[in-house]
């Protein structure tokens, strides 16, 4: 009977050893890039970073701690995501004003909401070096954000230096993480929302309006300028056209006049005296009917007045002309 006890004892022992060994099995998932740190009697002996089924010497010889290393974690400062957005729902955020309100370099106050994305780059450092690593990171991040914002003026924080500020926070925070041996890599620092405290929000809105006003003034002026210059150019064209027309007219007229003159001259040279007299009289006949005419006698004492009927003597004293004006009739034949 003693023999039977021994016979049963050995398989029992083997079974227990077997089960004990099985407790050393663990899996590493690709999902999130899990890594395992294996400690033998508390001493870190190796790190596993390939996914799959693994085995370590069972407790109490070895223990394992598994951490998702490749997953990007984010740390929210100044706000919290209450509900993530999706195709059928809006994201919901809540503000944490006591975290977001901070002083700027020019002693103003601003709300800054920041998200910090990080990853674990050294799992052993992350687990061992700092107690409560995520909390330590959060405190360091908050200090860095405030420190950097305090180093910039309000306007820069609100508008044009966001990139520079983000980069400065990132490099400061990475330096701190490395100093602490946190084993964390900061991937991205993003200022999500930067806004003035609501107590002064209207004044800030007015600045935005003022900037729009400024642009509007400029645009209106530009519009006006765009009308003035083309109008002047149109006028320029008009003036030049007029001038050219004048020029052509003058030349054409001159040519016409000259042609006329030439023809008359040609006739004239056939019989100068006769033509001359004839021309003179023709002109007079055309011209004189319009005018009032006085004719003075030599010595200026009497005036012979040309009238329709014939001649008339008009007495006059000491150079004073007087008498009736007689319309020269166009029909008067003076030849």
């Amino acid at each position: 009977m003693k023999k039977l006890g021994l016979k049963l004892f050995i398989p029992a022992l083997l079974l227990i050893i077997g089960i004990w060994c099985l407790t050393g099995l663990y899996t590493l998932r690709s999902d999130g890039g899990e890594q395992a740190v294996i400690m033998r009697f508390g001493r870190h002996v190796r790190t596993e970073d390939e996914a799959g089924l693994k085995w370590h010497f069972p407790y109490p010889i070895e223990t394992v701690e598994i951490v998702k290393c490749d997953v990007v974690r984010s740390l929210e400062l100044g706000y919290r995501t209450q509900q993530t957005g999706g195709i059928d729902q809006q994201p919901v955020y809540s503000a944490v004003p006591e975290e977001s309100l901070m002083i700027t370099g020019d002693e103003n106050l601003v709300h800054t909401e920041t998200v910090i994305q990080y990853r674990i780059k050294d799992v052993a450092d992350y687990l061992f070096n700092v107690r409560q690593a995520p909390e330590a990171l959060k405190i360091a991040a908050e200090a860095s954000v405030r420190r950097v914002v305090a180093n910039h003026d309000l306007d820069h924080v609100l508008t044009d230096q966001k990139d520079a500020i983000q980069n400065e926070i990132l490099s400061d925070l990475q330096t701190i993480c490395d100093e602490y041996g946190l084993g964390i890599e900061i991937i991205k620092v993003a200022l999500q929302d930067v806004y003035a405290p609501e107590e002064v929000a209207d004044a800030f809105t007015d600045v935005i309006k003022a900037r729009e006003d400024m642009n509007r003034f400029i645009n209106e002026a530009q519009k006006k300028a765009n009308e003035i210059v083309p109008a002047a150019e149109a006028k320029q064209q008009e003036i030049l056209n007029e001038a050219n027309a004048y020029k052509e007219k003058r030349i054409a007229e001159a040519k016409g006049d000259v042609e006329n003159f030439r023809q008359v001259l040609a006739k004239y040279s056939l019989g100068p005296e006769v033509t001359r007299t004839r021309m003179y009289l023709e002109t007079m006949r055309e011209v004189l009917p319009k005018a009032k005419i006085y004719i003075m006698k030599d010595g200026g004492e009497t005036l012979r007045l040309l009238s329709l009927g014939g001649d008339a003597d008009i007495s006059s004293k000491s150079g004073q002309y007087s008498g009736a004006t007689v319309q020269v009739n166009g029909n008067t034949d003076q030849e």
Binding site: A150, V200, A203, K235, R250, I251, A291, M296
Partner: protein, 338 residues
């Protein structure tokens, strides 16, 4: 339960049942029980004279409450050795380095574990006063570690006591340093504040070294104005914003006027140039006309002047013209038929 006793009972029962089949299974289970019991006993025995030191720990071994041994990590081994050897109180303490499995004398030696990690101490927000008499709410934090577990155990004891001591040092030293500078420097001068914190750190370390504490980093987490001063800050921000808004509008108007004036200037220049050009063209026309006239009239200048005179009469004389002619003039003679 006593496994041996059960085993014996089972053995007796098996004997009674003349080796029936279920007896085998019961025997097997009893073996399991025996082995489990043996393992538990073994672990209890082993753990009384063996212990582990993890990556996050450093330990002090006491014997009847007297420190006899410390086990620390490899990096701080040298420094801690030097510290303890120089102190007659710890002359008999044995220093070991490394992690893993260690042995002790059961029952009379106790293991006290201390963290070998960076520890965060976040102070509560306190009021400080700057040189320019401003009140600022200051929130610091410090990263520290137990640099020497033996000294720490003797002079501090535990973490919460340590935080208390650190707070006392930081608070008094920070107040002193901040009293030397203006609020603006504290808030905005990154380099100055960095150096200031380094000084504070150096000072506190010189004070706390003997307590086995080392401050690795001190930082200002927050500087805030007290709530009472916020209305005046908002007022200042408001007026500053108004100034900016006014500036924008004035700027806009100035630039608008500049643009308009520039356009007007261009327009004026364009028109003036057009006038210049037009006059030139007209001049050319006039000159060309004159040339044409001159060319023709030079053929017979005398006739030309006669011709022109007649043309002038035509254009000059109208209803309002009164002509006075000497009776001896050729025209009068024509008129009178002489």
């Amino acid at each position: 339960m006593n496994p041996f006793h059960e085993f014996k009972q089972a053995y007796n029962e098996q004997k009674k049942q003349k080796q029936q089949v279920p007896g085998k299974l019961i025997g097997f289970l009893k073996s399991l029980g025996v082995i489990a019991g043996a393992v538990i006993v073994l672990i209890i025995i082993l753990s009384s004279f063996m212990f582990t030191v993890g990556e996050r720990e450093q330990v002090v071994i006491t014997q009847f409450e007297e420190i006899v041994r410390v086990i620390v990590d490899e990096d701080s081994y040298e420094a801690i050795s030097a510290e303890l050897k120089g102190n007659p109180r710890f002359a008999n303490v044995k220093i070991q380095k490394g992690r893993g499995l260690f042995f002790k004398i059961p029952l009379i030696q106790q293991v006290k574990r201390f963290p070998n990690q960076l520890l965060t101490y976040d102070t509560k927000t306190e009021e400080v006063f700057t040189l320019d008499k401003k009140t600022i709410m200051l929130d610091n934090y410090a990263q520290w570690r137990i640099s020497n577990p033996a000294l720490f155990m003797v002079s501090i004891g535990n973490i919460s006591q340590a935080n208390q001591r650190i707070d006392e040092f930081i608070y008094s030293k920070m107040r002193e340093e901040i009293g030397k500078i203006d609020a603006f420097t504290l808030v905005a001068d990154k380099d100055y504040v960095y150096n200031m914190l380094q000084n504070v750190e150096g000072y506190i370390n010189s004070q706390m070294e003997a307590m086995g504490i080392r401050i690795m980093d001190i930082r200002i987490k927050r500087t805030e104005y007290p709530d009472a001063t916020k209305p005046s800050i908002y007022e200042q921000m408001r007026s500053e914003r108004q100034a900016v808004a006014t500036q924008y509008r004035a700027d806009g108007q100035k630039r608008a006027r500049t643009i308009t004036a520039e356009a007007q200037r261009k327009a004026t220049v364009i028109e003036a140039q057009a006038y210049e050009e037009a006059q030139k063209i007209r001049g050319e026309g006039d000159a060309e006309a004159l040339r044409i006239y001159a060319e023709a009239y030079n053929i017979d200048p005398e006739f030309y002047s006669f011709w022109e005179t007649l043309k002038a009469y035509s254009s000059v004389i109208d209803e309002d013209t009164t002509i006075i002619i000497d009776s001896g003039s050729p025209f009068a003679r024509y008129l009178f038929g002489e």
